[in-house]
Structure formats: C-alpha cells, structure tokens
Subunit: 483 residues, 2 copies
C-alpha cells in the first residue's frame, strides 16, 4: 500500500487542531438518530429530531421572503420571468438594474472582487440611513458569508510570525461563536479570551478586558478585539455606553475593532436598540472617528435567514491607504463572492419603499418573522427561568438562548466517569431522551465550573412550546435522577 | 489622528506579498479606459475595451444554458414556477428532488459542509461514467469555486512550520494559473517551479520535474505536485503517457497529486482527449491506485461558464482515514458552499437524458458553445502563427492561447528604460492602441528571456476575427517601430 503523504502526524497541525462546536459530534449523533428514525432501526421516545443547534432559519420552517426570492429568480431567468404578470413591476425594475450592472447582463459572470458596484453603493446608503453617518462604497467588501469576511480581515491582522511571543493576539469573547476560535487556531494566532459578565446580562466588563489583555501581552502581539453584538451565543444587546467603553479601551490599547453585527435586525427586548460600532465611533468625535473598524453583516440572519446564498458584506473604515490597496489586491485571487448572494444582499439593504407594489407584502413578511422571534425570545427566557436548576439572561437579541445549568454533584461525577464534560453529557442525554439537539456550552467557552448550552429560538411558536415542555420534563427527571 | 494599528509594515507580510495577475494593474487600466470611453474624456482609436484577460464566458457574450438556469430558478421560487407551463416537466422533477434534499425544502438553508448528499452522489456517478471506475460520494467535497477547494487541500498540506527548510514545498508549473502562486505566498509555502516544455506543446518533462524537485529539497519539505490539465494559460491537453509518467514520478517522490481538471469539457484539437488523473491512476493497477489524489472541477468553465455561481467540487481519494476525518471537520466552520452553485453543479453532472423533454435543447446549446470554442481555438492558433515575430502552440483545450513574442532588442531596451518588463510593456501598449486587454506572460511565469501573453478565445467568432485583425496591425506596426 505504501506510505501516505499525509497522516495525522504530517498534516497541517493548525488545521488538525480546529474545532467548530456548532457542527460537532453531537450533530453527528443527531444525524445518526434521524437516519435511525427513518429506517425504524431504533426505537426512541420521539418521532423527530429538533435541530436547535444551528441558526438555520429556513431549515426550521421559516418561509423565504417573497421579494428576495423573486428578485433572485428574475436575475437568474430574466427570459421569460420579466414577462411574468405575477411578479410586480418594482421587483422587475430592480432586477433590470442589477442585470445591467452584471457583465454580459448575466449573473453567471464574475463581478469585481469586492462585489457589484451598485450593490456596494446601496449598502453604503443603507449604512448611512441606519447610522446617520455617510459610508463610502469603496469601504464595502462583499464576501461569501460573514465568516469569509471575518477570515479575510483576521488574516490581514496576522503578524506572519509563528514565535509564541510574536504571534498576533486577537481578543475574543467567552462565550464566543466558535468561528473565531477555529480561525485563530487555523491561523496559528493567540486567542486572548475575555469573559462576558453573565451577572450583568453578558455585558463587557472593562476591568476584565484590561486583565485579559495584560495577561496576554507577554505571549503575543495584541492586534484586535472582536465583539459580537447582538451576542452569539449569549443573546445580549450592548448598550451605547458599553460600546463607548469598548471603543475607548481599543483606542488606549491600539486595537483594531472587529464588530460582528450580523444580528443587527434581531433585537427584541423592550428598551434595547441596536447601536452599530460605526455610529458610536462617529458620535464620539475626532478623537475616535479615525479608528480602524471592520463591521460584518450577513444575509443569513435577520428576518431573511437566507443562509444558503452565502451573501454578506463587511465595511472596513479608516484603513491605512497602503493596507487598503493591499487588502483589495489580496481578494482578487478569490475572484468574487457568489453573485446571487450579492443579489439577496441588494434586496435587504434596498427593500421596497412605501408606495411601491412590493412594499406591503415585504413589510408584512418581515414583521411577521421578527414579531414571532420576539415572542419566542420571551417564551424561552421565561420558561428556562421558571425551571429548577436553570437560570438565564434575557434573550434581548440574535437567535439563541444560553441558559446556565446548576448541576448536582452526582451528575458531575457521572460525567467524569464517562470521561465527558458535564455540559456535553447533559446535552447528549437531552438528545437521546427528547430528540432536541443543542450545543454544549463548552463549545463556546464558559467560566470554569459553570455549565451552559446553546439552543436556538427558531422553531415555530407552537413547536417551540412543545420543545420547552419536553425539555422541562427531561430536565426535572434528569435532575431527580442525580439528586 | 493617532497611529494606525495596521500599516504596510505591520500587516500580514504574506498577504502583502500576494499577486494575482489575471486581475492585475493592466485590468485596472482597462477599467479606467472603459470609464474614459463612456464619459468621452479621452479619445481612443477604438470604441470599446475587449476583456480578453479573464475566462469569464458570459461577460464575453456566451448565453447561459437554459436547463441550468431553469433548474436554479425553480429551486429559488418553486411557487409559482412549479406551475409554469413553459418549463419542461423533467426540469421540475429535478428541482423537486433537490428541494426535497434541502432542509425545510429551501435553498436558503445550510447544507452539509461538503454539499447536499444527493448532488454528491450524482457527482460520483458522473465520475464513474466518465472514467469507468467507481467514485465514492463521501470523497466528494463541494466548494465555493474550484479556487476554494484548491486552497482547502493546499492548506491541509502545509507543515505548520515557517522555517525555510521546514516549510511545505508544492510543485507548480511555469507558466501557471496565478491562484497557485498567490495561495502558496499567502500560506508561506515554498513554490517549487517546474517548467512546461514549450517546444513539446507545453508537456511535462520528467527530467525537468526531477531537477526542480532536487534543487528544492534543501529548502523545503516537498509535499505535492499540482498539474493543470487542460492547461491554463497554456492550452495543452496532456497525453495518457505523460500523465502516467507524472504519476510514477509522484509515487517515487511520495507526493500528493492535485489535478486541476476544471477544463475537462474543453478539449478541441483532433486526436486529443481528456484523461482524468483518477482514471489513469486506476488503470495503472494496485501499485498506484492507492495514491492520494485531489481532482478539481468547476461550474465556471466547460460549456456552462457559470462563474458567478461559484459552483465546484473536489474529489479526494485515498486519504488516510484520520486525515479525511480531520479535513471533513475542518470544513464545518465554513458552513457550506453556496447552495445555488451546488444546484448548477447538479445540472452539469446529471444533464437531461435522451428522451427527456429538456434533452434536445440542452445538447444543442452545449454543442454550440463547444463547437464555436473549437473553431476559435483553431482561428487563434493559426492567426498567431501566421504573424511575424510570434509563435504559438496549438490551443488543444481550455480557453486560452499563450503565444510567444519574439521581440526586437530595441523594444527590450525601451521597456527597460520605462522600468517595465518587456511583456508588460507590450501588453499595455496593445491595450492603449487597440483596447484589447490581455495578461503579460510574466504574471504566469515563463522561462527567463522569453516573452508571452495570455489571451482568452472567448469573444464571439466574428468579434474574435476583428480582434485578431486589430492585433495583427498593432503588432506589425509595433515591431516596425522598434526594428
């Protein structure tokens, strides 16, 4: 047979070390159970698996937004759809405008590497409307999902050095969305973990930021701070005050800011409002408004949930002109992000306006999704807090709840005996007993000795109620077993 | 203003060093000229720029394949298109099958990271039909364009070491498609350049492979050899014999093979045939059939030219089980490739069959594109070879011609005075005088002292004839000027 060129010992150790909990072993097991249920191979006390592990809106039953899909279909098959009397004229006008901006009038041709110019212009207008501060279309880079954009910006921030004290240090929250830890592992960078303050609704605590950075300084060259707002997996919406403090901290420490703002449409709690880092930076005046900031937005979340299109953009402001030119050059080898993902983004940032034929339906569908998400956020928060042995912060935004488990000692021992982390033990049991697939908190990081899990709030209201009821029964039984 | 976190001195030096000639400075200039022509700002002896720098089929006038686009539109907007009497029933059946395999029946949900199972199965069937050897669907990874797949595989082959003698060494052809050099620069790997033999129709010469590898051994850890077949930018189609020799060489030297086979549908020359590396490997029997090989295929080339959809796949065979598992894990953080790109790939690998309503039209459109490309390949080869000071190998396949320029001494001196490479000087002059945008050979690499450029054969036949005529006039005048 001969020797393999690549073995676990010789392959890229940084690729080998990557972990991405959202699609980790528990999801593999959930898929197995799904298959077993289909074939009738195994008997389970449930008839289907509820995939509450991933923010995959349409998979959980959300219907696509009609305007978005019509625009995509028109841009794909203009002949004969431009003549379809069932599609409103404003949608057709949009499609014509996009096609006119595509080379050869086809969405099958490459676009410029940062995306189609007119869509970048519309994104800039959207940001201007949102923040009240102008945005420059040439600061906009469209990407293949926000993950791709985050990787491009993080890559630029690497030092190119692998020495333990010369590597780039990137501050990331704990808990965090595991794309960050996976990417930093792949890039051989130093992850500077700062803990979110669970006792203060997962806010960022300045003394914690300072402490984590000081501790990391001997081990890396700190370059950037990543903030996820609204939070994933934690569901908090940062206050303007908190954002100001973070910006001040970044300035003091000369850090590049990466603001993951993909859930900017997903704000539910009363009194909460989305404030972009860009807006706050600008409001803070000339001492701050020159700071380097990358903000990420996606077509996969919000009210649209079009994950499969991989549409996203990143606004990068205040880059050194040489760096900016180099960044733009470096993305040319990637050719371009998927064109229909760009088209989806166009529909999001430039929705139908009042008076246009598509307006009412668009607004109705958008509001329906967001209203139901708000209802579900409330339902989930309240239910968890009503159950013994569980506490959780309010789901103010995003699509997840990250409840804390107060587990009995006996259960911790049982997990240890099975050589499993307590939260993983708990989530696997939940999956086997109820069919509910969640992600153990350890996949996102959590304070030593605390245990959580992440569950999405995406299933339809009635189904979610059932899920919560089933969960409650499981949890109480499980607790009783180990008491 | 404060100091920037990122400057050219502090940014990732490997990102800074990346170059991608296909979208290099000459394209920037071409875009400027295009804008100037629109505004009437500058007077030029031509009315439009011909973008012959990039293999962007639809941009150059090729019409999308109807079956592909109908399938995509159906998968995007099933209601009401499933009831559209203008779309044939077989296409609708396909769409139903794809949608049934999408979570929530929506192309807006995430798929598994390597792509939708049934499409991976269809890809495996396509490969089986093509080669006569079975393919395992779980060896198929769908990616965001072939570039993405190539980067994933190359990444896995890195050593994770940055020391000059510990870095991964990857053999790449010269001339090569600059994605390879750009990626190796980004990954801080050692590019082992092997020269293609221009005097033998750009074949791979075994003594050259050996020589380049031996010279590189002290400077890196050789891991893999990349071969592009049909060739880009060189247009050759490798003989079975040549592929056998390459495989033997890879075995002797314990190299992983990356076969860039994205132009597998683009073979024009009489007596030429596409042989996949997989097929030849299998034919060579048990001494070779266990070798590690990754083969890349794209929706962007062939007869479809759907570049904007970023549809592609990679078949990776004979991986060590641990490595394979790790590879599959590492791609989960990327979530999934664009779903509609996957749908395009489904239409390509599983085209309408004889007797199905969409069959005739599909075949007609496919043949028309390929017949015209064959005609253009011949036209371009013959024209270049009929012009003084130019010689070129037959364009046997792919979409490009890479003619050699025999430039007068005086012109070389003039280029030197302008501080430009002779081929860049030549191509910029061509652009300014004729509006034809090509890529200087130096962007792909070429033997010291030789000069080439790459031109696509994509413009419609009549337009291409004009282009060649204009080129000839420019060339002869230019030659006369420096004689």
């Amino acid at each position: 047979m001969g020797t393999k060129v690549l073995t676990l010992d010789t392959m890229n150790p940084h690729v080998k070390a990557m972990e991405y909990a959202v699609r980790g072993p528990i999801v593999t097991r959930a898929n197995e159970i799904e298959a077993e249920l289909k074939t009738g191979k195994s008997k389970k006390p449930f008839t289907r698996v509820v995939k509450a592990n991933i923010g995959d809106c349409h998979a959980t039953g959300q219907k696509p937004n009609t305007f978005i899909r019509r625009l995509v279909a028109l841009c794909t098959l203009p002949d004969p759809l431009m003549n379809d009397p069932g599609i409103p004229v404003d949608c057709k006008e949009r499609a014509k405008r996009v096609l006119a901006a595509c080379r050869g009038q086809s969405t099958g041709s490459y676009t410029d590497s940062p995306g189609i110019s007119i869509i970048r212009e519309d994104i800039a207008k959207y940001i201007h409307e949102r923040d009240g501060y102008p945005s420059n279309p040439s600061d906009i880079i469209m990407t293949t999902g926000a993950s791709d954009g985050i990787k491009v910006i993080l890559n630029m921030l690497m030092t190119g050095q692998s020495g333990k004290s010369e590597r780039a240090g990137i501050m990331i929250p704990v808990p965090q969305y595991p794309l960050y830890s996976a990417t930093l592992t792949e890039y051989n960078a130093h992850a500077i973990h700062y803990y979110l303050d669970e006792s203060k609704g997962w806010a960022l605590d300045m003394s914690e930021l300072r402490k984590s950075l000081e501790e990391a300084k001997p081990h890396c060259r700190p370059r950037a701070i990543c903030v996820i707002n609204p939070g994933n997996p934690t569901g908090q919406v940062l206050s303007e005050e908190n954002i100001k403090d973070i910006i001040k901290f970044a300035k003091e420490e000369n850090l590049f800011i990466l603001a993951d703002e993909v859930y900017q449409h997903n704000v539910y709690a009363k009194g909460c409002q989305f404030h972009s880092f860009k807006k706050v930076l600008m409001q803070m005046g000339p001492d701050y408004s020159h700071m380097e900031l990358a903000s990420f937005m996606s077509a996969s979340k919000g009210f649209m949930g079009e994950c499969g299109f991989r549409g996203a953009y990143c606004e990068v402001i205040n880059l050194d002109p040489g760096v900016r030119k180099t960044l733009m050059k470096s993305i040319t080898a990637r050719l371009c992000p998927p064109v229909l993902g760009q088209v989806v983004m166009e529909a999001i940032v430039n929705p139908p306006r009042p008076g246009e034929p598509s307006y009412e339906k668009f607004q109705f569908e958008k509001n329906e999704v967001l209203t139901q998400l708000a209802e579900k956020a409330k339902l989930v928060t309240e239910t968890f807090n009503s159950i013994e042995g569980i506490s959780c912060n309010e789901v103010q935004g995003a699509m997840y709840c990250f409840p804390r488990l107060h587990l009995p000692e006996k259960m911790l021992e049982a997990a240890k005996e099975k050589n499993m982390l307590p939260d993983a033990f708990y989530c696997f049991e939940m999956l086997e007993k109820t069919g509910i697939c969640t992600v153990p908190g350890s996949g996102f990081g959590q304070r030593e000795g605390t245990h959580h899990f992440r569950i999405t709030i995406l299933p339809p209201v009635e189904e979610l109620k059932e899920v919560m009821q089933k969960f409650k029964e499981f949890h109480l039984k499980f607790l009783a077993e180990y008491k």
